[in-house]
Assembly symmetry: C2
Homo-oligomer: 545 residues x 2
């Protein structure tokens, strides 16, 4: 018998919610070997932590077709002397001989990209960000703004010798109004720190994601991150109220005073939400925090096929309605890798199934929420939609169930590396992309036991947002695999009217694929805006569009 | 005894929710003279309906300092011949001698502004909108895009001889996906029609406002309207997923295929949400509909002072949390005017109080919602926050309670006219603006019994959004009153870090006041974007910025 409250097909009334006080209720203790996303992110804080042990090649070598833009000036000792004139010792780091001292800022988290920057600037004030940008713009020095450097598309690291401008030292919480829920902070505040601060005041940050222990609030906004709470709290385009932004020419544009509603003029801040550092540097964020839920439930369910996952989603929207805060799905292969990776951690279900669903509810009344969840589970079991499942009985179990979803990204690269695609697709055709990739890789002779490069393709993601994470677990990165996948994945998405980047952004990886999601007219305007704000093209070059 | 379920200070347990089945429960029938916002809006559909009987003066006469821009060409018979070459009889209306035939399109709803357009175009296709714009741009003919013409800042009518381009004939619902909730329609679909359509499928439009019977979905988006559901469903910047827009040069930009998440490139559609027809014409809208609540409760409460209104709001956020869908406040003067206006309709409370609150909850489980509301009301009564109140017992009573809030705008002009201000202010200083206006108008000798021009200033609005509607009820519009109010109101808002337009937009009325809410850097970028998209300045000139 599983240690969670339990659901199974033949005895569907045996599941129990915490308040029901069933006999076999107990706390699941995962033991010393337990991972939790919390621990992982804390590790990230203390030392640079990568998704892979494979050392990356220089981006310039991996992508020889991308050439350094000769309009940009090379860094000189005069430039460094100028920066030193107003930055302290700790705000300016010159690369040593082997670049080791700033390697963590030159390489991305996935270790797919590696830049060759010789200079890392970490200003402590917005005014100094402005001075840096003004100088770089006048002298045509290219710049990569960098937050927590947790991006998944190579957007936050240099491609060649761009100066790295890190926001890590601009990291103060500015103010919070507990009546309106408006929270203001510097861009460099770690997402988890912002959320911890808000939780103490009865609120939460309206966005959550796996990298919360190292990503910055400013980076989250600049990349328009999605994450785990979007289904409930909506996108950052709705919750961000104001920004402080340094433009390429050094001008500071400030809308941090905005209240919840301000309908005067174009909503300029929206341009910077998701601009990936290409037209300005976000230095401050004002955002509407959400009241902290008083009750949270999590259940982990199994279904027989993908069609049923969709039915469970429709049912959950109907029955859980305003308390539904997450609806995540995972295929069997996702959890196969995660089981391997978590080793001794006990899997919540006794058997294996083709698809799993994690549902979270968040509300203000535990009794009401339990009752709604109970009614939903009972009807889903009775109609044969859900074939097995468990409901977390306490905070520990809740965190443990979540880890089976949150550890998938890390587990998916445990064989060596991973090709990550993050796409939006209409719900009905979402999973067929994963199947198509496995077929295609098998046919190409690339998928199978070692030494074949590909382990397999897995699919998981935010069903509630129409967002699939397609991960191709590999033993090594090869050009053959890349050619087999691209542009195939993008063409598939385009033909199904999806987006080639649901939440990860474009960065370096998807620069050339925007045409699969945007029309020529849109791309023309996007380029136009880029050129207008950044006529010298110094902001995060070789990326985005 | 009042006919609603009843709350009062001394016997706070006497209130009853519908399921409690109290003895005195009965349906309030308002009788033949009853108004309902529903009836009013239906009237609007059948004939043009204004807020005032006072005929407007020409804007050119009221504001002699505003001069016609001589860059614009005057309409010629060649121009009309060109438009006739592809538009049918019903799509092109030339003004007759007295302009009577297109007066309803030249005048705004408040009858404060009156243009002198000689040509009304009502194309039936987006392609023809594009042809019109291309021609107007090449020939420097100024254009006013017009939706339902229900705006409150003179933004949707011409100032001089601009061509009126109405979207009324582009009015088809395009598609709806009941799994994702994504709804797509033409810009000219009436908001109420869109909502009715969605309700049949178990969803609602995520925005509601008093003018729903005549305003267009496209107009709502182009002006970034707020309305009554913002507290629950957030702003249009979060819920609009894609737009179809015709640019000033005639190019059609289309992002209607977007799914819930698309993170590729700047989110261009956001520029058009709230652009008030100054850089493009919204012709199609894709928006995320919200599931239709299965249960709705409304209560109408009284408090002794404004400080207590704030306390009730904080309490409601805590206790009603995810089911709180509206929190509206009204001062005594607002309801004094509404009582006069509604005449024989019975007021829900027996006594009068300084402040009233309307709270709406929307949820998926009637029993749970009733229980939450009951607990909230009990605690608010026990702590002396709420001194009287009623809870609607059925749909009819619910609509009747809402009308005491929804009829305020109309009632506020029943003495002749109204100066309307729609501002964001921090909650604590929100009502002091109303008090300051009454004091100032009294000191200036402008407020009092006839023949003094001002009846008094009233305050009401969306507490949940920090949004105050300040209405100055007047017997006539005079320059003295206007000078007494402006820039005073704007200066007050600026000094409290508010917005001079929370949801009404800028239009003609607030063009010169954007500087009270936006910094010079922001205004520079806004002007820059305007000039960039519309270099000939033909789109909705003399307005916005």
């Amino acid at each position: 018998m599983n240690k969670y409250g339990r659901l199974c097909r033949s005895t569907h009334l045996r599941f129990a919610l915490p308040h029901a006080g069933i006999a076999n209720r107990s706390v699941l203790v995962l033991g010393r070997k337990a991972y939790s996303s919390q621990r992982v992110v804390n590790n990230i804080r203390n030392h640079r932590w990568y998704s892979s042990k494979l050392a990356p090649k220089l981006t310039a070598e991996s992508y020889p077709d991308v050439k350094r833009d000769q309009r940009f000036k090379s860094l000189s000792s005069e430039d460094i002397a100028y920066f030193r004139s107003f930055l302290s010792e700790s705000e300016l780091v010159e690369a040593n001989e082997g670049n080791d001292n700033i390697a963590a800022f030159n390489e991305d988290w996935m270790r797919k990209y590696k830049g060759q920057s010789k200079l890392l600037l970490k200003p402590k004030t917005v005014v100094n960000v402005s001075r840096i940008m003004k100088y770089c713009n006048e002298n045509k020095l290219a710049v990569v703004p960098q937050g927590g450097n947790t991006g998944l598309v190579g957007g936050s690291v240099p491609v060649f010798d761009e100066i790295i401008l890190s926001l890590a030292n601009i990291n103060k919480i500015r103010e919070f109004d507990p009546v309106s829920g408006i929270f203001k902070c510097d861009a460099g505040v770690i997402l988890e720190a912002a959320n911890d601060y808000l939780e103490e005041q009865g609120y939460i940050f309206p966005l959550d994601l796996g990298a919360k222990g190292s990503c910055h609030v400013g980076g989250v906004v600049a990349t328009n991150a999605g994450g785990l709470r979007l289904l409930r709290y909506g996108s950052l385009h709705g919750s961000v109220l104001g920004l402080e932004v340094v433009l390429p020419n050094g001008k500071i544009v400030n809308s941090m005073h905005s209240l919840r509603k301000d309908n005067t003029g174009y909503d300029l801040k929206q341009l910077f939400v998701g601009s990936e550092g290409t037209i300005g540097i976000v230095t401050g964020v004002s955002i509407l925090a959400a009241p902290k839920p008083k009750a949270t439930n999590v259940c982990f369910l199994a279904t027989d096929d993908y069609a049923t996952v969709q039915k469970v989603f429709v049912r959950a929207k109907q029955e859980l309605s305003e308390i539904l805060s997450a609806f995540e799905f995972m295929d069997d292969k996702s959890l196969l890798l995660t089981k391997e990776h978590l080793k001794d951690v006990q899997f919540p279900l006794e058997n294996e199934y083709p698809f799993y669903i994690l549902i979270e509810t968040s509300g203000s009344n535990k009794e009401h929420d339990d009752s709604k969840l109970e009614a939903f589970l009972e009807s889903a079991m009775e109609d044969g939609l859900v074939v097995d499942g468990v409901v977390a009985q306490d905070e520990t179990e809740l965190a443990n169930l979540w880890q089976w979803r949150e550890m998938i990204p890390e587990s998916s690269q445990s064989h060596g590396g991973v090709y990550k695609y993050d796409v939006s697709l209409p719900l009905k055709s979402m999973y067929s992309l994963v199947e198509a990739c496995n077929e295609r890789l098998t046919e190409a002779g690339l998928l199978g036991d070692a030494p074949k490069p590909v382990v397999f393709a897995i699919g998981y993601g935010h069903v509630g947002d129409g967002n699939l994470h397609l991960n191709i677990a590999v033993r090594e990165y090869t050009k053959d695999v890349e050619k087999c996948l691209e542009p195939f994945v993008y063409e598939f998405v385009q033909s199904h009217f999806g987006s080639v980047s649901a939440e990860h952004g474009l960065g370096f990886q998807k620069k050339n694929y925007i045409g699969y999601s945007k029309t020529p007219e849109e791309i023309e305007i996007i380029k136009d805006i880029k050129n207008h704000f950044d006529p010298n093209g110094i902001m995060n070059p070789y990326k985005y569009v």
